[in-house]
């Protein structure tokens, strides 16, 4: 891979990783009396290893390939492998987290292994480590293919990918050491937040520069979604993470906002992390891999427009549905309810658009587990958005909030939608990227599919049961009009569901491990195969007038 970089590019890479080493060293030195010092060493190690890898190849021969006739796929390949690595780590963590709720002593006698510290390793690990890497990798692939253009340079994609992974490593290790801001899905401390801003700006610039080179007058739907993911996540991230560090030599910082304003900002962020990280990014994936795999045209361009702008506009308003009946003024809650309900239509429109695209390809869905992953993902996307809009209605939320129902909803979206579409895309992408004939084992894909599906179903049903049971028990009254159950009574009722959830999670996790294995075996064992056409070409597209409605 290094051999595809020119010597200038290698030098630039050394400069950047060298700077990283210095930053790490500074953090380690300044923060030596603080947990931040440990992060310094981690940054140092991370950048040091990269520095060394590049340095070894610094004087290798210049590459001879003609860049104009190929796409740049090396970062995509590494990104896919990283996504799978994080999937195994973070879902393994999920199983452990789930098991701790069933068997609370299932841990080491050490501070780092407590539920509160490993839970965010799971959540950040799956969302950012697994989801984020998958998004970055697939976006690199898709933006080049749908633009029929190679990325403009070869350093910035690596910077984005590896810089993002540095962020993930700092985040996950931080929770174990006890470094967290406590803001859900934005837990990393100020310096990690700042670093992510830099990475993200480079990502945006890279995306725009690639689009600018495109050989197709129009920008494909998938790119609209990826673009909205990059842009809005940037806005959310910056605002929600505004904070004042207690000291520049320490990790601790204090949010710029407090109390009710902080709650609103946090859930404006939190919900839209769901919307623009876990939804629009993955819709981008769906909009590319599903029609490609099915070999069918997108069902409706007009529906794409309607759902895209609907999602971008409506989603932002609904964060307050996380704060129903709280000290947040009620007017904001009303906005949250109404926009959540209106949001259902564009959400379902995009799920419907995907499913209708499968018309004429249902036999493929039956035979091809990869396409089935994508189909099931679209179904779960529809289910979880319906559920979400339902849970956003105040009286429903009165029951569901604070309970496992929310966790069930999360995982029907996260496992059923996010993870399924990612696995489907990875199976579709791997042979193309590595130029292989096929996946190593189709049987394993089939196994993975059923493990993932049954794991999700068991998990989600367990959590629905547990959540609704708990919610109802909290508000059950005796005939005297007094509360019937104590909190501990509900805890006892949860126990069997917690065991079931851990089991469902274990199935899902096993599937992810199989996927990783299958991808590695594909790379190592499956014979080479060059696809007919997978390189930048000029467009033959005519420029039609505004397409008329039929």
């Amino acid at each position: 891979m290094m051999s595809n970089l020119t010597s200038t590019e290698r030098a630039r890479a050394m400069l950047i990783t060298g700077a990283g080493v210095l930053i790490g060293l500074t953090m380690a030195a300044v923060g030596r009396n603080d947990p931040m010092g440990a992060h310094g060493w981690i940054v140092l190690l991370f950048c040091g290893v990269l520095f060394f890898i590049v340095g070894q190849k610094l004087y290798d021969a210049e590459p001879v390939e003609d860049r104009s006739v190929s796409y740049y796929d090396d970062p995509t390949k590494i990104g896919i492998l990283l996504a799978l690595f994080w999937a195994v780590v973070a879902m393994g963590m999920g199983v452990w987290v789930a098991s701790q709720l069933a068997w609370p002593d299932l841990r080491f006698d050490a501070a780092w292994s407590s539920f509160g510290r490993i839970r965010p390793v799971h959540t950040s690990g799956v969302i950012f480590g697994f989801g984020g890497n998958a998004l970055i990798a697939t976006s690199f692939h898709i933006m080049q293919r749908t633009s029929r253009a190679r990325m403009p340079d070869q350093v910035s994609p690596w910077f984005v990918l590896l810089g993002f992974n540095l962020f993930c490593v700092v985040a996950a290790s931080g929770y174990l050491i006890g470094i967290t801001q406590s803001k859900e899905y934005a837990e990393p401390e100020w310096y990690a937040d700042l670093w992510l801003v830099i990475v993200w700006v480079v990502y945006f610039v890279l995306y725009i520069r690639t689009l600018a080179r495109r050989n197709e007058p129009h920008i494909y739907v998938a790119n609209w979604y990826y673009l909205s993911f990059i842009l809005v996540v940037a806005i959310l991230h910056v605002v929600n993470n505004l904070a004042i560090p207690a000291s520049f030599s320490g990790a601790k910082s204090y949010s710029a906002f407090s109390g009710v304003q902080d709650a609103m900002v946090q859930w404006w962020y939190g919900h839209n992390a769901v919307a623009f990280f876990l939804t629009t990014g993955f819709l981008g994936m769906l909009y590319y891999f599903l029609p490609k795999r099915a070999g069918r045209p997108i069902y409706s361009y007009r529906l794409s427009i309607l759902s895209f702008w609907g999602i971008v506009f409506f989603y932002i308003w609904v964060g307050s549905h996380h704060l129903h009946y709280t000290a947040l003024p009620q007017w904001v809650q009303t906005l949250g309810v109404t926009f959540s309900v209106m949001l259902l239509v564009p959400s379902w429109a995009s799920a419907g658009n995907a499913l209708m695209t499968l018309n004429g390809a249902w036999h493929k869905v039956r035979d091809d587990a990869t396409l089935r992953f994508m189909m099931v993902a679209a179904v779960f996307y529809g289910l979880s958005t319906f559920e979400g809009s339902f849970m956003a209605i105040r009286p429903v939320n009165a029951l569901s909030h604070y309970t496992d129902w929310t966790v069930g909803h999360v995982h029907s979206g996260a496992m059923g939608w996010v993870a399924m579409i990612t696995f489907g895309s990875i199976y579709a992408l791997t042979p193309v990227l590595w130029r292989r004939e096929t996946m190593y084992s189709w049987k394993a894909v089939e196994w993975h599919f059923w493990l993932a599906l049954s794991g999700t179903v068991i998990y989600v049903f367990a959590m629905w049961n547990s959540g609704i049971t708990q919610g109802l028990m909290w508000r059950t009254y005796t005939e005297s009009g007094t509360l019937r159950f104590s909190f501990v009574d509900t805890l006892i009722a949860m126990h069997p569901y917690y065991i079931a959830r851990a089991f469902g999670g274990l199935l899902f996790f096993t599937g992810a491990c199989i996927c990783f294995w299958n991808v590695v075996m594909t790379i190592r064992r499956v014979p080479h195969h060059t696809p007919a056409i997978d390189y930048p070409t000029t467009s033959e597209a005519m420029e039609p007038a505004v397409p008329a409605a039929e």
Binding site: L227, L231, A246, S247, V260, F313, L328, V488
Partner: protein
């Protein structure tokens, strides 16, 4: 009927589709469109929370966290207690009857960040202050299952062995002042001493805590060890102040009579 209702929507959409068709040829137009469309909602919902006065109640007796309590709060965050415990009693009958007066915005006015939580694996803690003894809290944190056999809460025995760091407290209070918590210079300068004093009722630093944070401030050996200042001291001091920074909720919401 449907057709007439539909007309305005269809017209807006036709316009939108046309505009979009032009936009999707320019990445920067798309960028601008996305920022605009996604900017409105957040602005409309967040900005007024700073300008509408009755968003946060005006309360005279609301006090700030002492350095020890704030240190405890930082430990609460570090350990991820918020992953299982909410600190927000909703305006619902069953919650008020179980946990006490519903939470008011002012009660988390000095909370940077807020810890309202989103999951109740354990009970709400918004009013747990003074609900149990210090000794109970310590024993519960050492091993919850000693006291509540069915509990799934993790053990935090190491807190009792870990000395509390106090040298960074002035910096922390100072940062909090920058984001709006009214700490005085005096409070910041004496932060480390006050943390020590609050956990040593017989020591000579104790009176300073009462001077600066009010006579009602709890000055006790929270972890049961008069000679050591541990993280357990801080966390228990924090738990015991939850719901007690102001009495406004108790005073304005009469108790449910049974």
């Amino acid at each position: 009927m449907l057709k007439t209702l539909l007309k305005p929507f269809a017209r807006v959409f036709e316009f939108q589709a046309k505009t979009h068709y032009k936009m999707e040829r320019h990445s920067m137009a798309l960028t601008a469109g996305i920022i605009l469309a996604a900017g409105v909602g957040g602005f409309v919902e967040i900005a007024p929370l700073f300008t509408i006065d009755d968003t946060v109640e005006d309360v005279a007796d609301m006090r700030v966290y002492t350095p020890l309590e704030q240190a405890g709060r930082d430990i609460y965050i570090r350990e991820g207690c918020y992953a299982c415990h909410s600190q927000m009693i909703r305006t619902l009958r069953d919650e008020v009857e179980r946990y006490g007066p519903y939470s008011l915005a002012v009660e988390s006015k000095y909370d940077h960040p807020m810890l309202w939580g989103s999951k109740r694996t354990g009970p709400d803690l918004a009013r747990v202050g003074d609900k149990y003894s210090d000794d109970w809290q310590v024993r519960h944190l050492i091993n919850p299952r000693d006291l509540v056999p069915q509990s799934v809460m993790p053990q935090y025995a190491f807190l009792l062995e870990t000395p509390l760091r106090t040298d960074d407290l002035p910096g922390r209070l100072d940062a909090l002042r920058m984001v709006g918590v009214p700490y005085t210079d005096d409070m910041i300068a004496n932060a480390a001493n006050d943390a020590l004093g609050q956990a040593r009722p017989d020591g000579d630093r104790a009176s300073g805590v009462l001077d600066r944070y009010g006579e009602a401030t709890a000055v006790r050996a929270f972890d049961g060890q008069n000679d050591r200042l541990t993280e357990m001291d801080a966390l228990v001091a924090y738990l015991q102040i939850l719901g007690n920074l102001t009495d406004v909720a108790q005073n304005t919401q009469p108790m449910a009579e049974e």
